[in-house]
């Protein structure tokens, strides 16, 4: 199927340039002809405008009756911390006789975007999107990766893939993206320091910029997968994942929804710091953490602390000493604790060392979570990526072991890895996501 591409001329020029077939003289001559021809053509077109429109309508009526397929996506109105409104939309896949299919979607930034189908060349700018593409079984269409996707077990072919270095300070290599000519650029509107308006103005309409989901709103994550399913024409996989996520949430809430406040344990979520003694956390202003405690039946110790967008910076350790809390969940991030946790981590010694260091700290030594053995490390991917549903499973089991006696979070993770990531990894044998094991 041949795809319409406005940059075909530029591509041809580039290809010839690479071959050394176009000299500066040729280029100027061609450009001059193009300008002259464009002016002439433009004049002719403007003079015959009515005639052309009529012809198009006529063609549509007689030759191509559009085939419309309706795919339901984005079924709720979601207001996020960033006031992004993702409206319900029915995307419309339109097919004409010239075999130009398009799909119209409303992305996580609330923009209505029409994308030419099929999407064969994908570039993305956040590691969470990489895993989402694997979930919808479209990783093989990725032509350029971000500079934070490293796991070759999950993402085959990384080594030879061009990198689109985007830096957190907001500098995206647009030149490289334009050179690579992906069919779409997938981004997250609220993560990675990407200026969405800048990306749109520099790349569209040739390269549609699609905001997949909002990292600050866990409710949009599954919908982001559905959106990807529609764009990549992998609706079945996306629906399967949505059902999987819903089943986890349902099975957890079925047991925790009846809990009264007194039965809910108080939890300190310690966010990864560059040194072990950094005490940062999230207040309930950060939607994924609020959802975590709401769904799993717990209370966030830092729920009401002063925060910026939910981020609680530098908690006074002596405040912690005076608090009565039951659990500690420590975020273990690869960047700060390389090789300690994650897929393929066999050795638990690094995690054990971190746990021992943490529990020996002044502030935790002799605390209730340490005495009761309710001090857990969790892989950063659980809280800051599409694997969030598995965090609900692990946390629910940790907080209420008596309610979840037959519930096995490792089995849930196993299911996720085999069904959606399509790797044969046993989380009990070959991965460390929550430590100590439940």
């Amino acid at each position: 199927m041949k795809k319409y591409n406005k940059n075909q001329f530029d591509k041809t020029i580039d290809a010839h340039k690479k071959k050394g077939e176009i000299s500066r003289r040729h280029f100027l001559l061609g450009a001059g002809s193009l300008v002259f021809g464009g002016a002439l053509g433009g004049g002719l077109l403007s003079g015959c405008k009515q005639e052309v429109t009529t012809q198009t309508v006529s063609t549509t009526k007689t030759v191509s009756i559009p085939t419309t397929v309706e795919v339901p996506v984005m079924t709720t109105v979601t207001e996020t911390a960033y006031s992004t409104v993702t409206e319900m939309t029915t995307e419309t896949v339109t097919e004409t006789a010239a075999e130009v299919k398009t799909v119209t979607i409303t992305d996580a930034a609330g923009r209505e975007i029409t994308v030419n189908l099929p999407v064969e060349r994908v570039a993305y700018l956040h590691p969470a999107i990489a895993e989402s593409l694997v979930i919808v079984n479209a990783w093989d269409r990725v032509i350029a990766k971000d500079n934070y996707t490293f796991d070759t077990l999950i993402f085959p072919g990384l080594d030879n893939m061009p990198v689109l270095p985007y830096f957190e300070s907001g500098s995206v290599d647009y030149e490289k993206i334009i050179e690579l000519q992906p069919d779409v650029l997938l981004v997250l509107p609220t993560a990675g320091g990407i200026d969405l308006n800048e990306a749109i103005s520099k790349l569209e309409p040739e390269i549609p910029v699609i905001s997949v989901f909002d990292t600050n709103d866990a409710d949009t994550w599954s919908k982001g997968i559905e959106l990807l399913g529609a764009v990549m024409q992998r609706e079945e996989e996306a629906q399967a994942f949505a059902s999987f996520v819903q089943s986890i949430e349902d099975s957890v809430t079925a047991k925790t929804s009846g809990l009264v406040e007194a039965d809910k344990p108080s939890v300190l979520l310690k966010i990864s710091g560059w040194t072990i003694d950094q005490f940062s956390s999230f207040s309930n202003e950060f939607a994924p953490v609020k959802k975590l405690v709401d769904v799993t039946g717990a209370v966030n110790l830092a729920a009401d602390l002063p925060s910026m967008g939910g981020w609680v910076e530098n908690i006074d350790p002596e405040w912690l000493v005076t608090q009565d809390y039951d659990y500690v969940l420590v975020d273990i991030w690869e960047s700060y604790y390389p090789g300690a946790m994650g897929v393929g981590v066999l050795d638990t010694s690094a995690a054990q060392t971190i746990l021992e260091d943490l529990t020996a700290m002044n502030v935790f030594e002799g605390s209730k979570p340490v005495i009761d053995g309710h001090f857990y490390l969790m892989d950063h991917e659980l809280i800051m990526s599409i694997r969030y549903p598995m965090l609900l499973a692990y946390a629910a089991k940790a907080f209420h072991p008596e309610l979840f006696i037959d519930f096995d979070p490792d089995a849930v993770m196993q299911d996720y890895l085999t069904r959606f990531i399509r790797i044969e990894v046993d989380p009990i044998e070959s991965g460390l996501f929550f430590y100590p094991k439940l």
């Binding site: 830096f167 320091g193 602390l305 350790p317 002799g366």
Partner: protein
């Protein structure tokens, strides 16, 4: 003859005696200023020990402190209070005091020996190089070169390295003040750029971690760190105070100092090396605390003049007072969230300093 010479010298003797008296009076005034600062500093230490996120009474705090020394006389309040006071608050209070003393002392010596009112550890590149060392480990650190120990080691290494480079390069030009200052300034920009380059290419979290370190932080201070810093500050400040008379001579001009038998080059290098060592040690442990080294000597100079025998100890005490004040505000204003004390020193010190500068008409150095 004798009678006539007596009558000639008599007014001079009277004049000299009057001057001596005047001098003694002025010195007394200076000592009074220093002596006033000591109880203020102790009071602030007590306030800092008493205030915090945990609501502890004054009685509990002092009983817990005294229990450590007189366990038979003073009963322990509770394990929790004991932990808060002895493991969390007191190391922080002492670190704030030591860092204030060291930074202000180093600033005073740098300003006097380089004869520049803007000279301070920040301007001479020592803080920015330490910041680069810390950022390097925060962002790229692996293995043994990671974590707190790695950050401290790297920050100290780069701070000392830059100090040596400044001293070494300026030695070619006879360690002239302006040469040292310009090389220091160039070092500041060089390491700021390198730090920004690292931050620019790092993740948001790592960049933020580096930024947090750069604004200074007294959280997580431990006794072991206080124990390392204490002898360094004590010995360095002792050495600088010992050289304060020579510093006075140096302040009056290189030629004058030379004519009085001072080896100007050696003295300046010695003073800068010790001041750099103090700064490097402090910055390695708690990050960059700006403003203390710059402003405290100036505040004291406005009250007691430029005699380094008085100015140096007064600056040290003023530094401790400013940092203790800043830390108290940092810990209480948004409690239990702690603000960076390095930011508070600027917020507290700048308006006060501007007010003093506007009222002051004489020269700063």
């Amino acid at each position: 003859m004798n009678q006539s010479s007596d009558t000639t010298f008599k007014p001079d003797i009277i004049k000299a005696t009057a001057l001596k008296k005047e001098q003694r009076k002025a010195n007394l005034k200076k000592w009074r200023f220093i002596i006033i600062l000591i109880p203020i500093m102790i009071l602030l230490m007590a306030i800092n020990a008493q205030t915090g996120s945990a609501n502890l009474s004054i009685g509990d705090v002092f009983t817990t402190i005294l229990h450590k020394f007189f366990p038979d006389t003073f009963a322990s309040v509770s394990d929790m209070v004991n932990k808060i006071i002895w493991q969390l608050r007191l190391p922080r209070v002492l670190m704030a005091m030591l860092a204030g003393i060291g930074l202000a002392g180093a600033g005073c010596v740098m300003q006097s020996s380089l004869k520049n009112p803007l000279a301070d550890p920040l301007l001479l590149g020592i803080s920015s190089s330490a910041g680069f060392g810390a950022t390097l480990v925060i962002i790229l650190g692996v293995g043994i070169l990671s974590g707190t120990a790695g950050i401290i080691t790297s920050a100290f290494f780069f701070a000392i390295l830059v100090s040596l480079v400044i001293i070494g390069l300026s030695s070619f030009k006879g360690a002239k003040p302006v040469t040292m200052l310009l090389i220091g300034l160039a070092m500041t920009y060089l390491f700021q750029s390198l730090t920004q380059l690292l931050q620019y290419q790092s993740s948001a979290e790592a960049a933020k971690a580096s930024m947090m370190w750069m604004v200074g932080d007294l959280s997580g201070v431990e006794w072991s760190e206080v124990a390392i810093l204490f002898p360094i500050i004590l010995v360095s400040c002792g050495l600088l105070f010992w050289k304060s008379w020579d510093l006075n001579i140096l302040s009056s001009g290189d030629e004058t100092a030379k004519s009085l038998g001072i080896n100007v080059f050696r003295l300046r290098v010695f003073l800068m090396a010790v001041a750099s060592l103090v700064t490097a040690a402090i910055v390695s442990f708690i990050g960059v605390i700006a403003f203390v080294g710059l402003v405290c000597p100036h505040i004291c100079r406005m009250f007691i003049g430029s005699d380094n025998r008085f100015l140096f100890p007064a600056s040290c005490l003023a530094g401790a007072v400013l940092l203790l004040c800043a830390d108290c505000v940092a810990r209480t204003v948004l409690s239990p969230v702690i603000l960076p004390p390095g930011v508070i020193t600027g917020l507290l010190g700048a308006p006060f300093f501007i007010q003093l500068v506007m009222r002051q008409r004489r020269e700063l150095i």
